[in-house]
């Protein structure tokens, strides 16, 4: 098929499986890191705001492949041998955490101040105001940009190729090296990336339209 053997195609799909796993790691890790960043960025404490803002600017100011290198070789300098998956997962966590934190900070701030005030006037504690009044509204606003960013996560996992992480890009490269059919191989890889990302884009767009209507 396509001039490739079943084994070669299966190998490429195996890489795609790891792309999905790394994406999930990046999203879960990014959520765990992004939530506190979003809270700190919209906190009343100036120290927290400044510290979290610096962290975000720092991560956003470094290209993702370089983050991959720094994490991978940084950990091995410390004397620990880490699998590429762990290093890539950590790098994706830093990268997604910074961006998701910024996105969610915006969503929290998009909830009108008057909602905080109304909750305050009903004698709710600051934590109750956030949990019962602001957070549910911020979540609704957050769904489209978050799903949209998941597409970025999937695509950017391909940078893990710089630390020889076995993913879709890596497996395609390997097959290309043995078949010398770059057009076929990378078109197939592109089609698989697209097949993973496209449904998410559609979902994000549809939800966004629904939000605008209501």
């Amino acid at each position: 098929m396509l001039g490739l053997t079943i084994q070669q195609i299966a190998y490429i799909f195996q890489g795609a499986g790891w792309t999905i796993i790394l994406s999930l790691l990046g999203f879960v890790g990014g959520t765990v890191l992004g939530l506190p960043i979003a809270l700190a960025r919209s906190s009343n404490s100036k120290a927290l705001r400044v510290a979290s803002s610096l962290l975000v600017q720092f991560i956003q100011g470094v290209p993702l492949p370089v983050i991959m290198f720094v994490v991978y070789f940084g950990i091995s300098i410390g004397g620990f041998e880490v699998p590429a998956l762990v290093a890539a997962g950590l790098a994706m966590t830093l990268y997604s955490g910074a961006y998701l934190g910024e996105i969610w900070k915006g969503c929290i701030q998009a909830v009108p101040k008057t909602q905080w005030e109304a909750a305050e006037c009903l004698a709710l504690t600051p934590a109750q105001r956030f949990v019962y009044v602001v957070l549910p509204q911020a979540l609704r606003i957050a769904i489209p940009p978050t799903v949209g960013f998941m597409v970025q996560i999937v695509k950017n996992t391909s940078y893990a190729v710089v630390i020889n992480f076995f993913d879709l890009t890596y497996s395609a490269k390997v097959i290309n090296n043995s078949t010398f059919m770059p057009f076929t191989v990378f078109t197939l890889a592109a089609a698989i990336y697209f097949a993973i990302c496209f449904p998410m884009s559609v979902l994000a767009q549809r939800y966004e339209r629904k939000l605008h209507r209501s």
Binding site: T114, Q115, E117, L122, Q128, Y132, V133, R140
Partner: protein, 262 residues
């Protein structure tokens, strides 16, 4: 002029109020600035239990600021303010306790859009007072009946008219069983016909003996419902008295205000 206008009018509806009992709200020479701009320049005002006080005045005269001081949304720099037995300048003031006694309703309703009418109304009683599930349902029924919206329990705010939303906001405050209610231009965002239904709700509350301070531009309403009308001008209580004061203004400013097409 304004020094002469320290209003002290006992409510006609609460004969039990005696000279010895504390007023529910007492401003004494209260001053409040935003940065270098002083917007309240020494407010003296008392509201007794069961009384309805209407604050009127031009835009920027400090009505909202005065009202927001009462439930601690705004802090002030000098003077005294006592509300429901709380000293608002006390260092150890417990704002959350104060706010259980003082309800406030805003011009823009500020209902929680992601919650149904019932959830809007019962959120604070459940979370703040620990009211149980069935009890909360009963409470919602009771206060929604008070504002004439018993049939809207399961509606979301966006499915209601402005007037209905505002009445839900009133019910939400009532569910905390406040001793004092504050209303800040609660009909200003409404069409005339919807204004009427909200004003009637407030009138009924007044008849039931609720103590209220309300900022309003509805002069006829202020005159009919208020035991005391307070005309504010440039951050001061310029003139105060019973509703009929509006028929016979003592100051040029109030005469101009009343005469300006109202």
């Amino acid at each position: 002029m304004n020094e002469a206008a320290i209003p002290r009018i006992q409510s006609k509806d609460s004969p039990a109020m005696s000279g010895s009992s504390q007023p529910m709200v007492r401003f004494h020479n209260l001053r409040k600035s935003y940065g270098a701009v002083e917007v309240l320049k020494g407010i003296d005002l008392e509201v007794s239990s069961g009384q309805v006080v209407a604050l009127i005045g031009r835009s920027g005269s400090g009505k909202s600021t005065a009202l927001r001081c009462v439930n601690g949304l705004e802090r002030f720099q000098a003077g005294e303010l006592h509300v429901c037995g709380y000293d608002l300048s006390a260092k150890d003031l417990n704002l959350r306790n104060l706010r259980q006694d003082v309800g406030i309703v805003f011009q823009s309703y500020n209902l929680f859009p992601h919650l149904t009418v019932e959830q809007n109304v019962t959120l604070a009683p459940r979370k703040v007072k620990g009211v149980g599930h069935t009890e909360a349902r009963e409470l919602a029924k009771e206060v929604l009946a008070q504002v004439g919206l018993s049939d809207k329990v399961d509606a979301y705010p966006e499915q209601l008219s402005g007037g209905q939303q505002q009445r839900v906001a009133i019910a939400r405050s009532l569910a905390m069983k406040p001793k004092l209610m504050l209303f800040d231009e609660v009909t200003s965002a409404l069409d005339p016909e919807l204004t009427g239904e909200v004003l009637r709700t407030i009138e009924r509350l007044a008849a039931d003996g609720m103590t209220m301070m309300l900022v309003t531009h509805e002069m006829a309403f202020a005159r009919s419902v208020a035991d005391q009308v307070v005309f504010m001008h440039q951050g001061r209580v310029w003139e105060a008295g019973p509703g009929d004061m509006l028929l016979d203004p003592q100051t040029v400013e109030l005469r101009q205000f009343v005469g300006s097409g109202l």
